[in-house]
C-alpha cells in the first residue's frame, strides 16, 4: 500500500512540474492559491487532526504573514521573499506563543471561541489602524525578489506561472516534508496520545499544555508562511483575509478534503479553489452549492473526499482490509 502511495505522490509531483507548460495561464495562477492554502492548512490540520483542537481563528496567522510581507515590500522596500517568510515565521511564533499560552488551557468549543475572539480582535485592530494598514482598503504588495533575483522586468503572467510558481511549489514540498517529519516524530505521537487520552498522557509524564502550546506555535508558523505567499500572489492584503469567515473557509477546506488524512486538507483546498472557479463560471450562487456540499459531507461523509477516494481506490484494486490506514 505504502509503495503505491509513493507512486501516486510522484505522479502528482511530476504533473505539478509540467503543469505551467500545459495548463491555461489562469488555471496555473489559481494553483498558486492552492499551494499557499495547502501550506496554511498543513499548520491548521496539525491542531485539528493531531491535537484535536479546532481553531476558528487561524486566519489571524494568514493575516500576520500577509501583512508582514505587505509592510516589508511596500513600506520598507525589502523585497526579498525569503526575508518576508522568515520574519513572518518569527512574528507568527511570537504571537502564537502569547495567544496559544491562553488558548491551549481550553479544549473543544471554548478553544474555538477563544481563537475566534483573538482572530476578530486582530481584525478590528487592522480596521482601526487605517493610517498604518489602510483599514478597509488594505495594502498593496510589490513583486518580491526570489532567492535574491529581481524579476521586475518580467511580465506578470510569466512571473506567476514561471519563477513564482516553482518557488511556491518548492516551499510547499519543503513544508510538507517538515510537517510529515513532525507528525511522525515522537513529538507527533505525544500529541496524538494527548488527543486520544489526556489523562493517560499526563500520567506518562507528558506535559499536556506544553505540548499543545508547541503544536499551536508550529501550526501558526506554517499558516503564516501560507499567508505570506497568498498575499504575494494576490498582490493585495485586506482585513477580509482575517475576518472569521476566512478562518471558517480553512475549516471548510480541511473537512471537505478530510481532516483524518495527512494530505486531505490539500485535496480540500484543491476542491475549494477549482470547484468555486467552475461553479462561479456558470452561476453566481456558488455559496449555496458550497453550503449544500458542506452539509452533505458533514452528514454523510465526515471523512471527506480523501476517505471517499481511498475507499474507491481500495475497491478498485480489490484489497480492502478493514481499518487499514495509509
Amino acid at each position: 500500500m505504502k509503495k503505491r502511495w509513493n507512486i501516486i505522490l510522484l505522479l502528482i509531483l511530476a504533473f505539478a512540474l509540467v503543469w505551467p507548460y500545459v495548463g491555461p495561464d489562469y488555471q496555473v495562477y489559481l494553483s498558486l492559491s492552492l499551494f499557499s492554502y495547502s501550506i496554511a492548512l498543513l499548520g491548521f490540520n496539525l491542531l485539528l487532526k493531531y491535537v484535536g483542537l479546532l481553531s476558528f481563528g487561524h486566519a489571524l496567522f494568514i493575516g500576520l504573514g500577509g501583512y508582514t510581507t505587505a509592510f516589508l515590500t511596500s513600506e520598507f522596500h525589502i523585497p526579498h521573499m525569503e526575508f518576508s517568510i522568515i520574519l513572518s515565521i518569527l512574528i507568527c511564533a511570537i504571537v502564537a506563543t502569547t495567544v496559544g499560552f491562553i488558548c491551549v488551557r481550553y479544549v473543544k468549543i471554548y478553544f474555538a471561541m477563544l481563537t475566534l475572539a483573538f482572530g476578530m480582535l486582530f481584525h478590528s485592530v487592522l480596521m482601526k489602524t487605517y493610517h498604518l494598514t489602510g483599514g478597509d482598503e488594505g495594502m498593496a504588495l510589490e513583486r518580491p525578489y526570489l532567492l535574491g533575483i529581481d524579476f521586475s522586468s518580467m511580465g506578470t503572467i510569466e512571473f506567476f506561472s514561471g519563477p513564482f510558481y516553482y518557488y511556491n511549489l518548492g516551499i510547499l514540498i519543503i513544508a510538507t516534508i517538515i510537517m510529515w517529519r513532525i507528525v511522525h516524530s515522537p513529538f507527533g505521537l505525544c500529541l496524538q496520545s494527548i488527543r486520544d487520552n489526556p489523562d493517560k498522557a499526563k500520567s506518562l509524564g507528558i506535559g499536556i499544555r506544553k505540548y499543545r502550546l508547541y503544536a499551536f506555535i508550529i501550526s501558526g508558523c506554517f499558516t503564516g508562511v501560507g499567508g505570506a505567499l497568498m498575499a504575494t500572489a494576490t498582490g493585495h492584503m485586506d482585513p477580509g483575509m482575517v475576518f472569521w469567515v476566512h478562518s471558517a473557509d480553512l475549516v471548510f477546506m480541511t473537512l471537505v478534503g478530510g481532516f483524518t488524512n495527512f494530505f486531505g486538507p490539500m485535496l480540500g483546498s484543491l476542491i475549494f479553489i477549482y470547484l468555486r472557479d467552475i461553479i462561479t463560471s456558470f452561476t453566481e450562487y456558488w455559496r449555496f452549492i458550497f453550503g449544500a456540499l458542506l452539509a452533505v459531507i458533514v452528514i454523510l461523509c465526515p471523512g471527506g473526499a480523501m476517505e471517499a477516494l481511498t475507499n474507491f481506490f481500495k475497491l478498485l484494486v480489490g484489497k480492502t482490509k478493514p481499518g487499514e490506514k495509509i
Partner: protein, 294 residues
C-alpha cells in the same frame, strides 16, 4: 452632559434589545440541543429582508406607518417555517456527532441562506421609507429619543418576559428544562425529544427573525449584516455564559451599551473593546457571568 449620558444609554439599550432577541435564540438552541447555531445571524438577516418587503407592501397598500410593527412581526413569524425545515432536514443528523461537525453544519447553513437572500433581493442595500420617522421623537431630560426605539425596547422586554414565563412557569417550559439538563432521562420518561427539538429550534429561529425585522426601520439591510451580527451575538453569549437566558440578557446589555458608548466617545475602540472583554471573560470565567444555568 446628562443628555449625552441618556443618549448613549438609550441607543445602547435599543441595540441590546435586538442583540438580546438573537442571542436568546442562540442560547435556547444551545441549551437544549447543545449546538452553537452560527446561522442565527442569517435568521436575523432573513427577518430584516422579509420585514422590509412586508412593510413596503403594507405601506404601498395604504397602511399607515404607525402600524408598521404588525407587518414586521408578521415577517418574523412567517419565517418560523424555516425552523422545522433546517432542524428536520439537516441538524437532526448531527446530534450525536462531534461538535466540530455541528459548528460546521451551521456554517453551511449561513452559506446557503446568504445566497437565498441574494436570489430574492440581490446585493444592493434595502430600505424602509418613512417608518422610523413616523413615530416621532420625545424628549427625556434634554435627550431626544426616537419613539420607535422605545417601542422596540418594550417589545424585547415583553418577549423576554414571555420567554421567562414559559420556561419557568409552564409545562412546556418544564419539558424544555428537562431536555436541556438530561435529554436521555427526558426520553426515558417518555418525552418525544424530536418534537421538543423541532419546537425549540423553531422558537430560536423566530427570535432571530423578529430581531432582524424589528431593527430594520432604523437601518438598511445589507448582505454583510448576517456575518457581522454572528460575532456580536457570539460576544453576548460568551460574556453572559453559554446556554443561560439571564446571561443573554446581561451580555446584550453590556455589549449594547459598550457599543454605543465607544461609538460616541472613541469609535476606534468599538469592536476592539468588545473582543477584549470576550477574551478576558473566557480567560477568567470561561463559563460566563451567568454560566451553567439554562
Amino acid at each position: 452632559m446628562i443628555e449625552t449620558v441618556f443618549n448613549i444609554l438609550f441607543s445602547g439599550i435599543f441595540y441590546a434589545s435586538i442583540l438580546f432577541l438573537v442571542a436568546a435564540g442562540l442560547q435556547l438552541v444551545f441549551g437544549v440541543q447543545k449546538i452553537f447555531n452560527m446561522a442565527c445571524g442569517s435568521f436575523y438577516a432573513l427577518g430584516a429582508y422579509l420585514g422590509i418587503f412586508f412593510v413596503n407592501s403594507f405601506l404601498s397598500m395604504g397602511g399607515t406607518p404607525l402600524l408598521a410593527l404588525l407587518p414586521l412581526l408578521a415577517a418574523g413569524f412567517v419565517l418560523a417555517i424555516i425552523g422545522p425545515i433546517i432542524e428536520r432536514g439537516l441538524l437532526k443528523f448531527v446530534y450525536d456527532r462531534d461538535e466540530h461537525f455541528q459548528l460546521l453544519l451551521t456554517f453551511a447553513i449561513i452559506f446557503m441562506l446568504e445566497d437565498v437572500i441574494r436570489l430574492f433581493w440581490g446585493t444592493s442595500p434595502q430600505l424602509t421609507v418613512g417608518v422610523y420617522m413616523a413615530f416621532g421623537k420625545i424628549n427625556v431630560l434634554g435627550a431626544t429619543i426616537p419613539v420607535y426605539n422605545l417601542i422596540v425596547i418594550a417589545a424585547a422586554l415583553v418577549i423576554a418576559g414571555i420567554m421567562g414565563h414559559i420556561i419557568t412557569h409552564t409545562r412546556f417550559g418544564a419539558i424544555i428544562r428537562a431536555a436541556a439538563s438530561n435529554n436521555e432521562m427526558a426520553q426515558a420518561v417518555g418525552l418525544n425529544i424530536n418534537n421538543i427539538y423541532v419546537k425549540v429550534f423553531t422558537i430560536g429561529t423566530v427570535l432571530g427573525t423578529i430581531g432582524g425585522a424589528l431593527v430594520i426601520p432604523t437601518t438598511a439591510a445589507m448582505s454583510e449584516m448576517a456575518l457581522d451580527l454572528v460575532v456580536l451575538a457570539f460576544a453576548v453569549v460568551v460574556i453572559g455564559g453559554l446556554g443561560s437566558m439571564k446571561g443573554a440578557f446581561a451580555g446584550a446589555l453590556l455589549v449594547g451599551i459598550l457599543k454605543s458608548l465607544t461609538i460616541t466617545i472613541y469609535p476606534e475602540l468599538e469592536m476592539l473593546l468588545i473582543y477584549l472583554i470576550v477574551i478576558i471573560v473566557l480567560i477568567f470565567k470561561p463559563e460566563g457571568l451567568f454560566g451553567t444555568a439554562t
